[in-house]
Amino acid sequence: MAVPLIDARGIVKSYGQVEALRGADFSLRAGEVVALIGDNGAGKSTLAKILSGVERADGGTIEVDGEPVVFGAVEEARSAGIETVHQDLALCADLSPAGNFFLGRERLKPGLLGLFGVLDNAVMRRETQEACERLGVRLASQTAPVSGLSGGQRQGVAVARAVTWARRVVFMDEPTAALGVVQTRRVLDLIRTVRDSGVSVVLISHNMRDVMAVSDRVEVLRLGRRVARFATASVSMEELVGAMTGAIEQQESQG
Amino acid sequence: GDGGGGQIRVTLVQGLAGEEFYETMACGARAKAKELGVTLDVQGPQKFDPTLQTPIVNSVVAGKPDAMLIAPTDVKAMIAPLTQAKRQDIKIILVDTVVEDQSIGLSRISTDNLKGGAAAAKALSEQIGGKGKALVISTDPGVSTVDARIKGFEEEIKASHPGITSLGVQYSHNDVGEASKIVNAALAKDPDLAGVFATNLNSATGAGSALQQAGKLGQVKMVGFDAGPAQVEQLKNGVVQALIAQLPGDIGAKGVEQAVAAVKGQQVTPSIPTEATIVTAGNVSRPEVQKVLYKAGC
């Protein structure tokens, strides 16, 4: 079997007194969609933050392509091809949708102006608009700051951004929580498209129907530990809920 | 002090640290202290302000020097901390300024700022031929030394120079740029402005710059206070026409002498008034005037 793309073992993370992760494992292969599920407060977002370089683990090891890594900063995870849709979206409220979409990857004007760092706002606006429309998200104004967007519009921008830039893995922490019916369907389609293009997807979601619909495998977190892993094809919704709530305990089997 | 038989320890508390007048005073005091073989510490607040000087006096008193030279920043507010110092048996010598309580200060060595202001008025009147509009630029209201100079200036104008119209005082908050703005606006309002009395260095600098920019140097006469190297340079460049020089170095040296005498139980002189000299381009090179110019560091 090929080396996993990401293999995290025994990840520990505490915030003051609260132990968010108590030795969590997680693995992901190239080109697969893995759903990461668990009850509220199970540690899913914390794990996603650690694996995308936003937070540092207190303990445990992370390997990417079999090589141990320590993500000291987001840039390092990003240059490893990892993008993330955070649950809290992490947008700059005062910037426009395009400003957020291209944040840290701004397009510059061609020629001399570009050398001075002058932004090509027209191009960035157009590309942002296209990416959002692909998700069915309509933006009333392209220049107004995102603080004026509706919840779903904001989430659309964040999802479109991550999907556009990811080269190897995209973490999606509740990417459809605020999206409308149509937009949600489009995101699920997009997840499949992305996977088909070779990028792995980690989907964090409380919507079991969505999980069943797009994932290849499911990993279940409970109280900061991985308590079960399933192939989606061979698991029922009841089993998933049981694993999350602790009604069903599965022995950890190394995959 | 702590050491009993050891060296005599004297502390000088300036009215304002980092100001040429008081730094020159410190130089004079240091030289004298070296000559007499006593230890001298210098402390001073960052503003001429009793609420900032009080904690400094308290700290100095905690260190129990044998004597303290101090330029009190207020005639009244500094009485309480100085009384405390006196009770700790520290010999107190007042330099440059005084407090109202006559029982404080074994010796008082001070310039009469009121007289200095009057001298400035005379000098300015002479420069502008006894007539025209005159503006005063000061730092902030409530600084006793500067207030005294303004008072002396205005009283003298009123009493003996009927041809001069006083435009009153403007305050620069001791900021060069503010002083420049003030003079600019004054020139816009009164293009026939004849003279400026700048009560300290920063006021004179800002005013001078404004006059220079407006091409009015020499046309509008200026009299400044204090005679540090920068001011003398201004005098030589024709930015100011006269300076009122005090004797800070002398004050410092005499202060140390008196302090040492007091500690040793010798006789002290209760009051030593010091002179204010008018310095002009005409007399600046004379040796007796050279003597009163402030020293640039020591």
């Binding site: - | 210098v42 302000d49 904690p55 207020d74």
Partner: protein
């Protein structure tokens, strides 16, 4: 235990240790001058009035506001009190005038901030100019003297060897520390600074509360004016231009964020004492004034760095 945590918060522990470290260092370096009851009493007495200003500022900054006007309000109130005492001969009336005048300026700040929605920085910069200018108009630019009964009475009075002014400032600070930590008033102060919109949606009367908070800061500045009149015997028209920055610095050193929502009065108390102790210590050690400026600046940064660094370490 929980009560103590609320009063000081974990962040206060480290900065408190920094202060303790400074005290010990100076005591070791100047054993015969620094740790004397004479010196420590002077320290406390020099810090007392600033403490009042900084305590009011703590409330204001926790609401994510700022008050630059405190020095001007202090002076204006002192002038008003001096005039009233002069006119009526009543010390009590003078004290009441100072407090009410301060309150009035504070309420004006609060109204402009809360109802006018003008940035607090601008409002209080404006009222700083207005109150100082007003004080100068009232006095003609000349410092007024406090009547002797005040200066020699309240100004010098002691109880158990400690100046009465210190007792007053300490008592008020303590009461306000408790208010901030344990009452509804304090809770709403934190809520507004944490998220004004959420506080509003939650039904906190945000505007009214802001007016009260700025009013409190003004009232304390007014009282500080009266105490300063008693202590120094003058109104100090030129003496308070850096009060605002000193108070703000004390609040921030004490762990309160300029962005609001967090902070304690206990932290502020420590924040008041760190610069005061540094200056006193260096003066006693005989460090030259220019060096003092350099060293106090550096140690201040270092002290807050230690604080931040230890806090972060704890959070990991």
């Amino acid at each position: 235990m929980k009560g103590v945590a609320r009063l000081s918060g974990p962040q206060v522990v480290w900065i408190g240790l920094v202060l303790a470290g400074l005290l010990v260092t100076f005591a070791v370096l100047a054993p015969r001058s620094f740790p004397t009851s004479f010196n420590l009493l002077n320290l406390v007495s020099d810090a007392a009035i600033l403490l009042l200003l900084a305590t009011g500022m703590t409330f204001v900054i926790i609401t994510a506001g700022i008050d630059l006007s405190v020095g001007g309000v202090l002076v204006f109130s002192a002038v008003a009190a001096a005039k009233v005492i002069d006119g009526t001969g009543s010390l009590a009336l003078g004290a009441a005038t100072a407090v009410v005048t301060g309150l009035a300026w504070g309420v004006l700040n609060g109204v402009l901030v809360a109802l006018g929605r003008i940035p607090a920085l601008i409002v209080t910069l404006g009222t700083l100019g207005m109150s100082l200018g007003g004080a100068l108009l009232l006095t003609g630019g000349v410092d007024l003297r406090a009547p002797a009964e005040l200066n020699l009475g309240l100004g010098l009075a002691r109880w158990l060897g400690v100046p009465l002014i210190v007792w007053i400032c300490a008592a008020i600070t303590a009461a306000l520390a408790l208010t901030l930590a344990f009452t509804r008033f304090g809770r709403h102060t934190y809520a507004i600074g944490s998220n004004t919109e959420a506080a509003r949606r939650g039904g906190v009367a945000v505007r009214k509360h802001l007016i009260k908070v700025y009013g409190l800061a003004g009232l304390l500045a007014g009282l500080a004016g009266h105490l300063s009149l008693a202590k120094y015997g003058i109104t100090g028209v030129s003496a308070h231009s850096t009060d605002n920055l000193q108070a703000i610095a004390a609040v921030v050193i004490g762990g309160t964020s300029l962005f609001g929502g967090v902070g304690t009065v206990t932290g502020t108390v420590i924040g008041v004492f760190i610069p005061v102790v540094l200056q006193n210590g260096f003066q006693i050690l005989g460090v030259r004034p220019f060096w003092q400026q350099v060293v106090v600046g550096a140690v201040l940064v270092a002290a807050v760095y230690v604080d931040q660094w230890r806090r972060r370490a704890r959070d990991q």
